[in-house]
Point group: C2
Chain length 406, copies 2
Amino acid sequence: MNIKKKGSALDYSAFKFEITHRDEKSGARLGLLKTPHGTIETPNYIFCGTKAAIKNLSPNHMREAKTDIILSNTYHLMLQPGADLVAEMGGLHKFMGWNGPMLTDSGGFQVFSLGEGTMANEIKGKNSGKHENKNLMEITEEGCTFRSYVDGRKITLTPESSVEIQRKLGADLFMQFDECTPYHVDKDYTARSMDMSIRWGDRCLQTFENTYDLASAGPQAMYGIVQGGVYEDLRRDSAEYTKDRPFFGTAIGGCLGGTDEEMQAIAQHSMNHVHPDRPVHFLGIGQVKDVFTFVRMGIDTFDCVIPTRLARHGVAIVKGAPGETINLKNAKYRHDKTPIDADNGVAASTDFSKAYLHHLLKAKELLGPQLIAQHNVATINRLMREVRAAIKNGTLDELEKEWLPA
Amino acid sequence: MNIKKKGSALDYSAFKFEITHRDEKSGARLGLLKTPHGTIETPNYIFCGTKAAIKNLSPNHMREAKTDIILSNTYHLMLQPGADLVAEMGGLHKFMGWNGPMLTDSGGFQVFSLGEGTMANEIKGKNSGKHENKNLMEITEEGCTFRSYVDGRKITLTPESSVEIQRKLGADLFMQFDECTPYHVDKDYTARSMDMSIRWGDRCLQTFENTYDLASAGPQAMYGIVQGGVYEDLRRDSAEYTKDRPFFGTAIGGCLGGTDEEMQAIAQHSMNHVHPDRPVHFLGIGQVKDVFTFVRMGIDTFDCVIPTRLARHGVAIVKGAPGETINLKNAKYRHDKTPIDADNGVAASTDFSKAYLHHLLKAKELLGPQLIAQHNVATINRLMREVRAAIKNGTLDELEKEWLPA
């Protein structure tokens, strides 16, 4: 691998990441991440608004649930409504009515995960097996070609077009374009892929520098992505690359193995070599247990679809519940007069009985998943507030026992 | 027909209907309808929360949209979750988190409309043809027997059980049990059916008097229902019956003909004979044009599923729009930066562009129908506020031109 030093100083003057506290005992850190749309405290959680909307929740619902930051997906938005339309509307913030900090991904993850995210688990290592992506047509040095799931047309996404699209979308934070390799590929493929992602990263940086005029909503900052599959030396090389380049932040991406232990080891291999002063985002990871594990490695932000996806299946994330969640479709809640969580500070959590939510799910009323979604978002935001307080107070172990009793 | 005088004085002391103003020019009237859960101004609109939930909207959404009163459907609730469960939870108000006035219907309309409301248009006269209700099994003097669409079990609903169920559900206002005849039936059938509904009405009154102890949430008041199909003399007889009995209010139900003109004539035949001092509810009618037509006949409350049903199809009710509505799925809104209605006083109407709502509908994001539903409810509540002000000021004609330009 050949990492070329680049001397360019990209303009991140509207951004700042400040580490305000380190908890030597746990390894976790507190920070302030400043963006043109506000400053968030870290560690924090970025909620997925895939198609310029959080599933089932309005911006007002998100604010009520004390949300600091959300993301949206380049892949989905480039297909519908298209980046030019979002730019014409003044960028994602204005388009969707969210005034706080926002992130977009590069589109790569979805392109490489079957066109609609169904291979996500495989990429994350949750299962193995053959990689059958019927929408993905070709991966070359230039970029990747796939069929739109909206209208079947052939689309090529490149490092250049991914950056241009993210400029037009206008989120505060955005991601380099990379190839996201699935679990089953061998080291040789992973190494070649990682090298290509590095070349793609440099093309992204170059494009970033040349496309300030495309930005629909002001200054933006780009993250480099650490790939390298399950291989320690590849993770190191990829992390060294991101550290060496003028990215604003670092993201840990790609396949993280098949077990919690493997995921932790691979994340640690990556974290050992990332830039120590830049914010680190963990792509697509965000169960409660993951938050406790990875803040201790210094991860600053998380994102995951589970708060809203679980809600659509009637599952509520609850502090102290066995396995993090309760399934409100369970018949045992039919007569339960208690709310999901009386201490969660949002009406969805406190003002409705489990019996009522159970009824809504049985009756297939959309209000059920909607209320549970807002509850889940409020719960995760509360988790992050409590995690930050615990890092400050050196009580992360105690807090973890409260959220995840043995 | 033989109407027996009844001497019983039912306890409606927690309720009051006061006519505060009559607009001699238009024929409309203003009133105050007092219930144990608050007093509403009339004319007003009762929004359908069929299964103890407004489709896609929370009680908070409804309050933001300035809603005064909602209803829920006995038929759906008796099947899921069951009236006993609702009673155990303290009644509908507590169960669903709605503290304002509430109404339930008797279950009859749904029983006679194919089990899930799909015959509703036929009953209302919107189309003719054979009455094929595959869930309805038998109608006898005792009541009617049907199969549950939830689990297929055989259920008999009688005047007695309808009242008992509505006692347990605990809404402030409720309806007598009646047979709701469809458009295609002849006068002979309609007359016999109406006579039976009258006998059922008396059984409802008797049961009402004997079931105070079943009430899950305090005092309730019952409405009699005017049936009689499209036949003037039957409507007269049925209205005279409701006037003669100690119902708190009067509802206009059943088939109203196939055209606007026929509907108006039949409503007028009914209104000519109803009790002049009792509140009159128009069952299942509630387009904007209907509101203007029927407040002039003295109708005090309306209900209809259209505000939330149209929203699920991307259709927004808009003051002054041709045909009352705009269809946000229409491609002409793809680039439209304007909100649905900047003067509607709710974020769903004012804070999102038509382009964004169009995108949400194209992307099949549930947030789209949700926002439009709240907009529609806010629009109808604003309509009713403006109608009340216009009745007071004698400017109903002018207001109608603003809402429904020629």
